[in-house]
C-alpha cells in the first residue's frame, strides 16, 4: 500500500473512531496522519515489530492524545484487527484515548503526559548506540508540547550523547489546546531553535509524503535530527482544518456525514 493511501485510511478510521467512541483530539490525529503513514508504511517492517527484533525501528508518539492515528496505522499494517478499532475508548478495550502499549504490538511506550515520550525515545536511541545497533528511533511531538521544559532537556541531552539515529518530528500545526501557539507561548522558528541546540533541523510540508520521506531518510553523522513538519490541524476535513473546536468535539450528525462524504470523495 502506498503511504498516501495509508494516510487516507488512517483519516477515515480516525473519523469513524471518534464518531463511534465520542472521542476527542480528532484534529490532532488528522494532523499527523501523513507523518504516521510514512513512518509505519515505509520505515518499519511489521514482522520485526511482531518479533520485537532488537533492530526494529522504534516509533514513539510523544503527543499521546493523537493515539487514534497510531491504532489505525497498526490495524492497516496487520498488527491488530481492523474491527478492534471500534473499541477505542470502550470499557475493557486495549485502545485508550492516549496511546497505550499494553498488550499491543507496534507501540513501544504509553504516553499522554506531554514531554515524556521524547525522553524515553532518547533512552531507546542511547541503548541502540551503546549496543552498536543500527536501528532508528522516531518520536513525534506536538508543537504545543514544545512548551514543556522536558523537550528542551531532551534536546540538550540527545545532542550531548550524539544520538544521531534519533529523529524528532514536530507536528507544527501552530495550534495548541487553547488557541494559536503564537499567542500562547510563541515558539517562533522551531528549526532554528533545534539548530541552536546542536541538532540537524529540516522544515518540511508535513502532508507532502515525498518531502517527509526524504527528510526522514537522512541522518547526520553525529547530530540528532529534528523534522519540523508544517501541518494543518484537522487536515483532510475542510471544516475541521485549523479549527481548534476539533481538539475537543467528536463528529456526530451532519458533521459526521460531511466528514465522511469529503473523505470518500478523495478516496485514493
Amino acid at each position: 500500500m502506498r503511504s498516501e493511501e495509508l494516510a487516507w485510511r488512517i483519516r477515515r478510521h480516525v473519523i469513524e473512531m471518534a464518531h463511534t467512541a465520542h472521542g476527542s483530539h480528532v484534529g490532532s490525529a488528522l494532523s499527523i496522519a501523513d507523518i504516521v503513514a510514512v513512518l509505519y508504511g515505509e520505515f518499519v517492517e511489521p514482522g520485526a515489530l511482531e518479533r520485537r527484533d532488537k533492530n526494529r525501528t522504534r516509533i514513539v508518539l510523544s503527543k499521546g492524545h493523537a493515539g487514534a492515528a497510531i491504532y489505525a496505522a497498526l490495524a492497516e499494517i496487520g498488527l491488530m484487527p481492523i474491527e478492534e478499532l471500534k473499541t477505542h475508548y470502550a470499557d475493557g478495550s486495549r485502545l485508550s484515548g492516549h496511546v497505550s502499549h499494553k498488550g499491543l504490538t507496534g507501540v513501544e511506550v504509553s504516553t499522554g503526559s506531554l514531554g515524556q515520550g521524547v525522553g524515553m525515545a532518547a533512552g531507546m536511541a542511547l541503548a541502540g548506540a551503546r549496543d552498536g545497533l543500527e536501528y532508528r528511533t522516531f518520536v513525534i511531538a506536538g508543537d504545543g508540547e514544545c512548551d514543556e521544559g522536558a523537550i528542551w532537556e531532551m534536546a540538550l541531552f540527545a545532542r550531548q550523547q550524539r544520538l544521531n539515529r534519533l529523529t524528532l518530528i514536530v507536528d507544527r500545526n501552530e495550534l495548541q489546546a487553547y488557541g494559536l501557539t503564537a499567542e500562547i507561548m510563541d515558539l517562533l522558528d522551531l528549526g532554528k531553535k533545534f539548530e541552536a541546540f546542536g541538532w540537524r533541523a529540516v522544515d518540511v510540508d508535513g502532508h507532502d509524503h515525498e518531502q517527509l520521506r526524504r527528510a526522514l531518510s537522512k541522518i547526520d553523522e553525529t547530530r540528532p535530527t529534528a523534522v519540523i513538519a508544517h501541518t494543518v490541524k484537522g487536515k483532510g476535513v475542510s471544516f475541521m482544518e485549523n479549527n481548534n473546536l476539533w481538539h475537543y468535539r467528536d463528529p456526530q450528525g451532519a458533521d459526521y456525514e460531511n466528514a465522511v462524504r469529503e473523505l470518500e470523495a478523495c478516496r485514493p
Partner: protein
C-alpha cells in the same frame, strides 16, 4: 551508607553489564570510580532530572538495569510524573537513588530535606521502596535491587551514619524487617538512619528493665506484614520512628496494616515530622532535636506508655508534685486558720528549739 552503596554497585557492575548509572550532575567524588571503570555505562545527564528519568526508562525498556542518582528531592519529586508514567507504569527496571535521607542536608535548607519522599514514592503502584538504616543494610539493598526486576526507590543517608548491625547481612530478602532485639512489652519499628536513635532509646529502656524490642525495616514497600501482625498481637505498644513526615510515611504503612487486624492489638504511636517543614537552620542532629526525633523522645514516649499506659507515670507525677504541694498547703492553711494547730506547732517548735 552512600559510599557503601555505590561501592557495592561498582562491584556488581563488574559482573553485570546491564547496570547503568545516570547522575543528575551530582555525586562529585562519589561516583568517580564508577565513571572511570565503566565510562560507557556512566552518564552525567546534567541538571535535568525529568529527562534523566525518562531516558532511564527508555534504556531500561531496552534491557538495562538503570540507576538514577541525585540528592534530596531531585530524583524523586522533581520528576515525579516521569517516575509514575515512564518508570512505574511501564514496570521499567529503573532504580531511583536519592542521597540525603530526611534531614541529612539539614543546614542546606528545606529544598534539600527529603522528608516526604517515603510517603510519595510509597503511593506509586509497582514501586518498591527501600530505606536502609546503615551501611550494611545499604550493601544488602544494593544487591537485592539488582536481583529484582522492576522499579525501586532507594533512600540513602549522605554518610557517616552509625552502624546498627555488627556484621554483613547475608541473603537479604526484599520485604523483610530485621530483628535487632526481642522484647515483649513494646517494640520499636524504625527505618533509615534514625534507627540508631531508636536503638539507643531501646538500650536505655532495656537497662531500666523494660522488655523493648527493635526492628529495622530496610524495605518499606512491600512491607513486612508478618512481623507487624505478630508484634501487634503480642505487645502492648508499637512505636514507629522515621525521619519523614508522619503523613503517609512508614508509620502510616504500619498503621494501615494494624487498622485492618481483628481483635485486640497493640497501641501504635508514630514518631516523625509532624506534618511540617524543618524551617530552622541547623545540622541534622540539631534539627532532629528541634523536631523531636531523638532517643530521648522515643525513650520518654515508651516509658510513659509502658508504666501503666501512662497511668503509672501520672501517679508518680501526682505523688512527686501534687500530693506534696497539697500537704504543704494543708499545713499552711492549718497554721493560719486553726488556733489550736497554731499553738501546738508553737509548742512543738519551742520544744525542738530547747
Amino acid at each position: 551508607m552512600r559510599n557503601a552503596f555505590i561501592n557495592e554497585l561498582h562491584r556488581l557492575a563488574a559482573a553485570d553489564e546491564r547496570i547503568f548509572l545516570l547522575a543528575g550532575d551530582l555525586g562529585f567524588g562519589v561516583l568517580d570510580k564508577f565513571r572511570q571503570d565503566y565510562p560507557d555505562r556512566f552518564i552525567n545527564a546534567g541538571v535535568a532530572e525529568q529527562n534523566m528519568t525518562a531516558v532511564a526508562a527508555g534504556l531500561a525498556l531496552e534491557g538495562r538495569t538503570v540507576f538514577t542518582y541525585s540528592i534530596g528531592n531531585f530524583t524523586t519529586l522533581r520528576c515525579l510524573e516521569q517516575i509514575r508514567n515512564c518508570v512505574a507504569y511501564h514496570g521499567a527496571n529503573v532504580k531511583v537513588i536519592s542521597v540525603g535521607a530526611g534531614l541529612s542536608y539539614g543546614a542546606l535548607g528545606v529544598t534539600h530535606h527529603a522528608t516526604e519522599d517515603l510517603s510519595i514514592m510509597r503511593a506509586l503502584p509497582n514501586m518498591m521502596v527501600f530505606s536502609p538504616a546503615d551501611a550494611l543494610e545499604a550493601v544488602a539493598i544494593a544487591k537485592a535491587v539488582c536481583e529484582v526486576e522492576g522499579a525501586c526507590y532507594i533512600r540513602l543517608g549522605k554518610g557517616r551514619e552509625s552502624l546498627i548491625h555488627q556484621r554483613p547481612i547475608e541473603g537479604y530478602e526484599i520485604g523483610r524487617a530485621i530483628k535487632i532485639f526481642a522484647g515483649d512489652d513494646a517494640r520499636i519499628f524504625s527505618t533509615g538512619a534514625i534507627a540508631f536513635e531508636a536503638l539507643k532509646a531501646a538500650e536505655s529502656l532495656r537497662a531500666r528493665g523494660l522488655s523493648v524490642g527493635l526492628y529495622t525495616f530496610p524495605t518499606i514497600k512491600p512491607i513486612d506484614r508478618g512481623v507487624i501482625e505478630e508484634c501487634a498481637r503480642r505487645c502492648r505498644l508499637l512505636v514507629t520512628v522515621e525521619e519523614n513526615n508522619i503523613v503517609s510515611g512508614f508509620g502510616s504503612a504500619v498503621a494501615e496494616i494494624i487498622s485492618e487486624l481483628d481483635g485486640r492489638v497493640a497501641m501504635l504511636r508514630r514518631i516523625g515530622l509532624r506534618d511540617e517543614f524543618a524551617s530552622i537552620v541547623g545540622s541534622q542532629e540539631f534539627l532532629r532535636r528541634q523536631y523531636r526525633l531523638t532517643r530521648e523522645e522515643i525513650f520518654a514516649l515508651i516509658e510513659i506508655a509502658l508504666t501503666d499506659g501512662g497511668g503509672g507515670r501520672a501517679a508518680n507525677h501526682l505523688v512527686k508534685y501534687f500530693l506534696w504541694d497539697y500537704l504543704l498547703s494543708a499545713f499552711a492553711a492549718a497554721i493560719i486558720f486553726d488556733r489550736r494547730a497554731r499553738e501546738q506547732i508553737f509548742y512543738f517548735s519551742a520544744e525542738v528549739m530547747q
